[in-house]
């Protein structure tokens, strides 16, 4: 029964959801755990438990708040109900409630320490909230508890890939492929395995895995796109073009795939076709440097000189702004740090001017604004200082430190400035960044 559930789980997991572009997936970590996975698992785990089945039914009808309430009530009544906690943790994960989700799943794992599924669910929750490091432990436990748990091997492989532990990642992904056999479910671990091979500079092996991925799942657009890149590196231009065309046909809204196809056309001297796809890529991702670079070249080669010039200007501005941002960051922080040093040395007026100059360079840096505000307050410039502090809190309303500083300042500020006029306390000196 459990084996059957696992296959179903994989079959309905994110593997068959529309995948994000591969780069985004790798950078951002696993996409959010999809409720369907948890629900199917939960249904299995809770087969004999009517109240939790009721919750599942509510979820199936889209009545999520009611389901959450019901599950909370169940847990209130029976805190040791691991099934309810597992389902609630998964639902809260979908709701973006990190604290609640992790708490429920952690408790579920505590109640069911031998459950590979529970460990895997906890790992997926950590990963969904961007904490791949924390996810690793539960995934490792999941595969230790059940070495034939293919999805857990895939998850662990991905976490290890992201951590740069390529050999270990390869081992788990290979194991997943072995467990899944020649089924469509094996396409995703093949795809990840190709990424490991690419990182290991083994492009031929990467191409072989990608070939297998698209053979198992011909609608796997990302795999087609990466296969095109691998073939291009192997100087198989015809193969690359075919793969890119397939990727774009499957995922026309994928800007990366459109850019790759357009660039391939450009390499082959088909400037007009290149421009069409690169324009589409640029529409989907207007600030992509690679796209703009190829697009301006394609337009120029296609004789669309004015359009090419406009794109070139856009690209040049993008590049310049990137440099300016870097330069401003260094200059602004350096000024701030000089201010902090002056403040510590007792030269408050000198510090104030440095902070002011730093803020001119980096008006969006809230930390520098707070330093500036505190310097103003320490010089008795209550009105300006409080205004700057309020602006800092407005920009970062979640920052408890900034809030506390504002509260302190208001407590000490004279009544005419809206404060409570309490005896002054020494405010912290400026912070270096």
């Amino acid at each position: 029964m459990r084996r059957k559930w696992r296959a179903a789980n994989l079959g309905r997991s994110r593997l068959f959801r529309r995948p994000e572009p591969p780069e985004r997936r790798l950078r951002a970590g696993l996409p959010a755990l999809h409720l369907c996975v948890a629900l199917v698992g939960a249904v299995t785990l809770l087969a004999q438990r009517n109240p939790v089945e009721d919750a599942w039914a509510l979820l199936a009808k889209g009545q999520r708040p009611q389901a959450i309430r019901l599950l909370s009530d169940i847990i209130k009544t029976n805190p040791r109900d691991a099934d309810a906690r597992l389902l609630l943790g998964s639902v809260l994960q979908e709701e973006g409630d990190r604290t609640g989700s992790i708490a429920q799943l952690t408790e579920a794992v505590r109640l069911r320490p031998r459950s590979a599924e529970a460990q895997n669910a906890l790992g997926e929750a950590f990963n969904a909230f961007g904490d791949a490091q924390a996810a690793r432990g539960p995934f490792e436990k999941a595969v230790a508890l059940d070495p034939r748990f293919a999805q857990a091997h895939v998850n662990l492989g991905l976490v290890l890939l992201q951590a740069g532990e390529l050999d270990q990642a390869a081992m788990h992904l290979d194991r997943a492929v072995e467990l899944l056999g020649h089924k469509p479910d094996a396409a995703y671990p093949h795809y990840l395995r190709a990424k490991v091979s690419s990182e290991q500079s083994d492009v031929r092996k990467a191409a072989a895995h990608l070939q297998e991925a698209v053979a198992l799942r011909p609608d796997f657009a990302e795999a087609w796109s990466d296969l095109g890149e691998a073939r291009k590196t192997l100087l198989d231009n015809a193969g690359a073009l075919a793969a890119f065309e397939r990727a774009v046909a499957l995922a026309p809204d994928d800007a990366v795939a459109q850019t790759r196809l357009g660039s391939q056309y450009l390499d082959e001297g088909k400037a007009h076709l290149a421009a069409v796809h690169l324009q589409e890529a640029s529409r989907l991702d207007p600030k992509n440097q690679s796209t703009l670079y190829s697009l301006q070249r394609a337009l120029r080669e296609d004789g669309q000189t004015a359009q090419a010039e406009a794109i070139k200007q856009k690209l040049a501005e993008l590049l310049r702004n990137k440099d300016k941002d870097d330069q401003s960051l260094v200059a602004g922080i350096e000024l701030n740090n000089q201010g902090a040093n002056l403040e510590k040395a007792g030269d408050l007026r000198g510090a104030l001017e440095k902070y002011r100059a730093a803020l001119d360079v980096l008006p969006g840096h809230v930390g520098i604004r707070v330093n500036f505000a505190i310097a103003l307050l320490r010089l008795g410039q209550w009105k300006e200082g409080l205004a700057e502090l309020r602006e800092a809190v407005r920009r970062e309303p979640e920052n408890a430190v900034f809030k506390a500083v504002l509260d302190d300042a208001l407590a000490q500020a004279p009544v005419e400035f809206g404060g409570m006029g309490r005896p002054p306390k020494v405010l912290n000196s400026g912070t270096k960044y």
Binding site: S198, T233, R297, N337, Y433
Partner: protein, 581 residues
């Protein structure tokens, strides 16, 4: 038993550095690297390579250390970039002499760290004549351009540095005079001069001067390594990213020993940006007018196209030489110019940071380039930070090869700080093959190198290599070519054109091949090569030459015998020949 070759060990060591670098790049500082993986290597061709390089610097007398910061750390970017070198014949005796620049050390400047001029003793050794020649000068030096700016028949020197550049006039008696101020080239404000090249941009027969600046560097505002987290956390030096751009200048030669700053009217000043390093002037679009290509670190490289009216237009992005093939900035360090596809057009190879490939830009003859790095076979090498580069026929087989020097930049954090030299053998048809362990001990040796220059210092008919090593004496790689391949060298002497014929082009037809070269004032990394153009010819024993002088006159010389140096004087054909041993 586990067997690790040196190369494989280096390959492993390269990983942490690349990963570290990626982190730096993400923080918005340091140098740009795309973090690319090496492309797979093809099967070895199995062809023998007939060049073998041995480092003879010590026995040749090149023993002065090139100082560049502290051996184990660099406080500022001015200590890390190091410098170039030149092969030149300053006394016109027919034997190449050597100029090696140097840097200094912040807070502890060695009093003897000076640029060094070594006179060729014609027996494989050199004599340090720095003081006698009037060239002793300490401080931070970076680039050298060689050219006869006053048309007196003797090559002069322009040397960039922080905080001042210098123009040295060759007096023709073995000495030089610092004429920077009287030439109008003294900077009122400190500058971080880097690339520089002489060129006759207005075709008036006098050499003008292009100078790039790397970053706007001020000790008052740039934090010292380890003292601030504002720039490059981790205790390494700050820059170039995060620092303000250096700006680039063009000076017109007035013909009276002085120059006029024409940066603004020429259009060079319109360009905002670019951490400029090596500068090369050559005619990329075959219109007879010299253009300028500037390798820029971590920012788009710049191509200034000559408009024939005293102005330039920057066209790097549209011409395809500003960014990588996928549109990313690269850490442009050095530039090799040559006709490695042998179609009569000048192609470009640019060196970059580790975890990136060199850039191979193929010229269609109209000055439009296509990035063919992958197709050329250079994407197989991403392990090293590459600096100086030359396109030169190392084994005289008739196909110009690639040679580049490598070296780490962060001694504090890079375990693979000292790395080998790299040779790519030209297989023909635009394809290269990296040679591993086949080019001699001089290539395999580990150093942190920067500039390099190619030239035949022992006049034996091949190409030797001079290399600047960071905080070590230079290397002098003597090339011993075996086999029966032939060669020809061409030395141009301008009459109406500038005397050194900088910008002159020689196109040689040999067998079924054609190859173009130009006399360059700077290339590689901030360095200057032997101005005698060298062509390997393989089995061919006679060649036809077309010479296009800087002012446009074209001369054809047919049926010229191989294995000699020919001196060609503008308007007079071959005026002298020299047979080497």
């Amino acid at each position: 038993m586990l067997s690790l070759t040196r190369r494989s060990l280096l390959s492993l060591l390269a990983w942490p550095a690349a990963r570290l670098y990626s982190q730096e790049a993400r923080s918005g500082h340091g140098m740009a690297s795309r973090g690319v993986k090496a492309a797979p290597r093809g099967k070895p061709s199995g062809l023998p390579f007939h060049a073998r390089f041995t480092d003879v610097a010590n026995q040749a007398g090149l023993r002065e250390t090139v100082v560049c910061g502290h051996p184990r750390h660099a406080d500022y970017v001015i200590e890390a970039m190091s410098c170039g070198a030149a092969f030149l014949d300053y006394d016109n005796d027919g034997w190449l002499d050597i100029l090696v620049l140097t840097g200094s050390r912040f807070g502890d400047p060695p009093p003897t760290a000076s640029q060094r001029l070594y006179k060729n003793n014609r027996d494989g050794t050199f004599t340090d004549v720095t003081v006698k020649a009037g060239l002793f000068r300490t401080g931070y030096q970076y680039g050298v351009a060689v050219g006869d700016y006053n048309n007196d028949g003797f090559d002069d020197l322009f040397i960039t540095g922080w905080d001042q550049n210098m123009l040295y006039r060759n007096n023709g008696d073995g000495t030089f005079t610092d004429v920077t101020k009287e030439a109008g080239l003294w900077n009122a404000q400190p500058r971080f001069g880097s690339g520089c090249t002489f060129l006759d941009y207005d075709r008036d027969g006098r050499l003008d001067l292009f100078v790039s600046n790397y970053v706007a560097f001020d000790l008052e505002t740039v934090p010292r390594a380890g003292t601030s987290t504002s720039c490059n956390p981790g205790g390494i030096f700050c820059g170039p990213r995060g620092l303000r751009y250096g700006h680039h200048s063009l000076y017109r030669n007035n013909g009276d020993g002085s120059f006029t700053d024409v940066t603004a009217p020429s259009g060079i000043g319109k360009v905002e940006g670019g951490y400029g390093l090596t500068a090369v002037s050559a005619d990329f679009d075959n219109d007879g007018w010299p253009d300028i290509y500037l390798a820029c670190d971590s920012t788009p490289s710049l191509l200034f196209r000559n408009n024939h009216d005293g102005t330039f237009t920057e066209q790097g992005l549209e011409r395809g030489v500003a960014l990588s093939d996928d549109g990313m900035e690269q850490a442009g360090m050095g530039i090799g110019i040559g006709d490695f596809r042998m179609d009569g057009n000048l192609d470009i190879v640019k060196t970059h940071y580790s975890a990136d490939t060199p850039g191979v830009y193929v010229n269609n003859g109209k000055g439009d380039f296509r990035d063919m790095t992958l197709q050329a076979g250079l994407a197989v090498e991403t392990r090293y930070v590459c600096w100086g580069i030359a396109i030169a026929d190392l084994d005289n087989d008739g196909n110009p090869d690639l040679f580049c020097v490598t070296g780490g930049i962060y001694p504090e954090v890079q375990e693979n700080y000292n790395t080998p030299r790299v040779v790519f053998r030209n297989l023909g048809k635009g394809r290269f093959e990296e040679l591993l362990g086949q080019a001699g001990p001089g290539v395999e040796a580990l150093h942190s190198s920067r500039g390099c220059a190619v030239g035949d210092f022992d006049n034996d008919g091949d190409v030797d290599i001079l290399i600047v090593n960071h905080n070590e004496p230079p290397s002098l790689l003597r090339n011993d070519v075996s086999g029966n391949s032939h060669w020809i060298k061409v030395k141009l002497h301008g009459v109406r054109s500038n005397r050194g014929a900088v910008g002159g082009r020689v196109t040689v037809r040999y067998g079924d091949k054609v190859q173009a070269q130009e006399v360059l004032s700077q290339s590689s990394y901030l360095s200057s090569n032997d101005s005698r153009l060298h062509f390997g010819l393989g089995p061919v024993t006679t060649v036809d030459l077309e010479i296009r002088w800087p002012l446009g006159q074209v001369e054809n010389l047919n049926g010229v015998a191989a294995d000699q140096l020919i001196h060609v004087t503008e308007g007079s054909g071959i005026t002298r020949t020299e047979k080497f041993k």
